[in-house]
Amino acid sequence: MEDRPQHSDEPSKGDGPAHAESAPVIAPGYTIGSITDQISSIVLTRPTSRGWWIGFGIAFLIVMVLHAAIAYLLVKGVGIWGINVPVAWGFAIVNFVWWIGIGHAGTLISAILLLLHQEWRTSINRFAEAMTLFAVACAGLFPLLHMGRPWFFYWLIPYPNTMGLWPQFRSPLVWDVFAVATYFTVSLLFWYVGLIPDLATLRDRSQSRVGRVIYGILAMGWRGSARHWHRYEVAYLLMAGLATPLVVSVHTVVSFDFAIAIVPGWHSTIFPPYFVAGAIFSGFAMVLTLAIPIRAIYGLEGFITLRHLENMAKILLVTGLCVAYGYLMEAFMAFYSASKYEQFLALNRAFGPYAPFYWALLVCNVLTPQVLWFRRWRQNVGILFIVAIVVNIGMWLERFVIVMSLHRDYMPSAWGMYSPTVWDWATFIGTLGLFVALLFLFIRFLPVISIFEMRTLVPEAQVREEHGATEAGSVTGELRTT
């Protein structure tokens, strides 16, 4: 275990975990060449497996279901969904918040952990970022479709027009447009910039002419000169700095969608940090859900080691506790406030018509992650996978429970029930298919793990770093190089 302690021999970078006995961030024995070979072979040399075709085929069929659901929606209108008054926000907002929450891990891993000098992030950031993009794309569909006439979405954007239309800037839904659009743009740029050196590697190694041309165009003339690397690293770190506030801002604005409204159970000052913690919680759960099968199928255990899984499990545990604290505060303040509406809401959640969802969410999000207190279970891949999936379900249930606050608010005469229709389910499952299909394409055509950043982790690169201060490893270095 201790034959290649990547961190502990560099005291100036001692921000890693205090315990030296943890597993290495890359399995021993890799060289710069073998890393490049193994990761790029998934894209370039390995034949497309039958499993890939079957998996992609199924996902593609589900995307067709999504298309059908959207087409029917456009023909008939949102009445085909189960939404009504009082529950005007049904599955659409549940799924929106769920997907956008999942989309938080990518930028957290790539930006914040980079700035915190957490080297272990290197092998998971690439596909976590890809996951982020796909999740945000799925998320963005729901508010658009929920508008009823999605082709008028641009009315949300302030632009001079003859109709004198101007968005309501006091509405957090308008803030959402800016927050999500910014997040998607910056995440996409961050992901793409991170890919450029690897795209050049693929261009150089590709056997086919088509591959060389496409990867060549995407690599934007990358030659790997010292000047390229220098500018690249400055740009990458600046983007990390820019992306960091976005991790917090997007879900903060999403929480405002609820908390600005004065609906009991929604208007709660803890919502912003509690939503951000929940987003990171669900995002890491999804990263684990994807990382565990991918590393098994493509034999990447040497890159995504137990150390990565364990660290993610710890983040899952911490953010899970934050979310549990949020539930506790909501319930406690409902009674402490002595507001009969808040009290009714708390009781209605626990014992009303949707009570089973509430208790299920507590089991999924509060009880289940507690197994991660124990190292033996954190290092058990099977248990981790199950916990991650349970947390994914639990976070979906949480959003469902929050949205269902609408069904009984102040006036009993305005109460109602919500149940999703087959079209709600078709749209939701359709986006799952879209997400998985995009992931399959990503795995097939781009390197799932950052090749050039993994190269900086092997011992050869470490030696070089000791001589030339900011050469290979300085991607994990300073924010400002001035």
């Binding site: 100036s12 002595a338 400002r480």
Partner: protein, 410 residues
Amino acid sequence: MSAAAELPPRPEWDRVQRTALVAGVLGLGLCVLGGLVGQALEGASNENFLRSLFGLDQFFRSYLVAYLFVLGIGLGSWVLLMVHHLTGGQWGWALRGVLRAGTHTIPLLVLLFLPLLLGLRDLYPWMRWAQEDIQESQTLQFKTLYLNAPFFLGRAFVYLAAWVGFSVVLLRWSAGLPHSPAEPEPRRLRMLSSPGLLAYGLTITFASIDWVMSIEPLWYSTIYGPLFATGQALSGMAFAIAALVGLAPPVELSAVITRKQLRDLGNLMLAFILLWTYMSFAQFLLIWSANLPEEVIWYKRRLQGGWQFVGVLLILLHFVLPFLLLLSRDVKHNPRTLATVATLILGIHLVDLYWVIVPGFFPFQDFRLHWMDPAAVVGLGGIWLAFFLRELRRQPLLPEPLLTEENHHG
């Protein structure tokens, strides 16, 4: 341990320690005297000026603000210590000695809490609610389920016991360990720190509700606990940085503490500033935009009668100025400037506590500052600082230099 024998005598601290103790006893003594004089004047004189100058109720109000200020430093040190046991990192080694000494003061802080028990009726309106009012109002009935003297005392006992229990055991288990990452720390320190942080999170939430929020018993905000805890972590961090730079001889400091460590310390302080700002703004925006009478009254009281200028001051000095300063590398690399920023933050956090607490005692009255307010801060702060220095002498102030490869078993 033999390490204790090698500790320098630090004669240069004697004067600070003596001054702190004298000022502390004097300040607190004056406050107690002011309180007792007020009690004696009760009924004896009707002169408003004298009555306003002295008073037991004023004593408790000033004492509460000062107490929560020093409590924040003590508990903040403990929290940062536990975080460091769990995560490691160079920043924590730089502060290890100061944070440990700060944590050592928790038993003293428990002792200093006891006088407040005599003032519960003066501090908390729910202690003064008449029985018939409670009978009539369903709201008050609900409130008194949680806000009543026996339950309050029971809870306070649990908080204080948890703080002392966890911190004393933690300090005992880590006593005599070298202040350096050369050897891995015993596993049990981590095993204790996770439940310790959990216990802190829960106890400080309810302590802040009990001791501060219930001054305005009808008001509530779910983010209150985290916001209060962030303030404590910030105080602990700012005090530790200021103490490290202020107490260590400059030569030793620059020999041991690297620029990177100083930068990390500055960045952490910046992170806490941002967290405090984020939560404060979230609470303000949500309450302002909802404009519900039972919630918005809290800000109404704090944004009139001169208090609004304190609010603006908080935005400028608790966020804008430290934020801009701590972005600069030059500020962070120079221990003096970093310590100056830390001192500023510590000071403005005291103002924050004052702004949060005092308007609750005097709803919709003008800004006021009683002579006992600064006197109580000097009193409790002085006594606490003297005790802190006494504890600091018992451990290495600075970590062991990073570059030496010596054997620490010595």
